[in-house]
Symmetry: C2
Subunit: 179 residues, 2 copies
């Protein structure tokens, strides 16, 4: 599948069937993480592959029940948890070098997209879950100090194809030479 088609067709998937994910598909996703670009090649990512149903249930308790991804945290065959090592991205010589401080969220955005595009290309669905109690969820996953858990990514074979979400027109976000 071409890049453009993949970007355009990829949807957030919250319903999966019970099929497990083949090892070689998972390897392709890990490889996409490994090959992600990052701030000065600092590679701040850490990836947790969650299959244990008790861990999924404990994570679900950190998600507001109104979150549309509440159910799929426990029904997806695998949940990926993406963490960042702090004070790497956007840092030189021990301190932040831009007004935005730590760039781990920017770099994890890049990694997240690589995971989602690769998964879609393999016929797998993903949804990026960012709305939960991060402190509680980090405790569930034993995330150490100086690392942050950013997003959870339920992963599995989709049972439906949601309609595209509405988008801003290109001319509404495009500027020439100045904003």
């Amino acid at each position: 599948m071409t890049i453009m088609k993949t970007i355009q067709e990829r949807r957030s998937i919250r319903r999966h069937d019970s099929r497990d994910i083949p090892a070689d598909s998972l390897q392709s996703i890990f490889k996409a993480v490994q090959c992600s670009q990052s701030w000065a090649n600092s590679q701040c990512w850490e990836l947790i592959v969650i299959r244990d149903q008790n861990v999924k249930k404990a994570l679900q308790e950190t998600i507001p029940s109104g979150n549309p991804s509440y159910q799929c945290i426990v029904t997806a065959p695998i949940v990926l948890a993406l963490c960042g090592h702090l004070e790497k991205a956007g840092y030189y010589g021990g301190g932040p070098v831009t007004k935005f401080g730590d760039w781990f969220m920017f770099d994890l955005g890049i990694v997240t997209e690589n995971i989602c595009l690769t998964a879609h290309d393999l016929g797998l669905g993903t949804v990026v879950v960012g709305l939960f109690d991060h402190a509680k969820a980090a405790k569930v996953l034993s995330v150490p100090e100086n690392y942050e858990l950013a997003v959870l990514l339920p992963l599995g074979y989709p049972t439906d194809t949601p309609a595209p979400t509405p988008r801003r027109k290109i001319e509404d976000f495009l500027h020439e030479d100045r904003f």
Copy 2:
């Protein structure tokens, strides 16, 4: 080109030839931005396409001369500037809903990767420039209040293919069920 090949082969490109970028290639890049996923579909991105040499020169003055991307800001046929509308991503009901506050950097990371992968697929090179004086550069580009300029992306046909950068081993960032 497949997604996996594109992710693995894409490099940071800082040397371009003088060829201009075809309009349909630019349209594909704009479409990739438009179709990017985002927090609750909030689409906080704004994209500035810079061709004016005076604007490029003014931007160059905001970059430390030791930055390896210092030269290509003025030699690339086009520089893209990616901005975020604040208080959209990670926000509900006027306030931030997670400990990470504004998620615009995460969402712009996603958009950045979609731009870079699409460009590579079209034979175009990109480099993500994040190290510059953001306040000064935002002034050059007349970025309004409540928006932030995050990265500059010089864009053009590469004259070389840099070697791959070293990567962490998969087993060094992969965890099972817990960190």
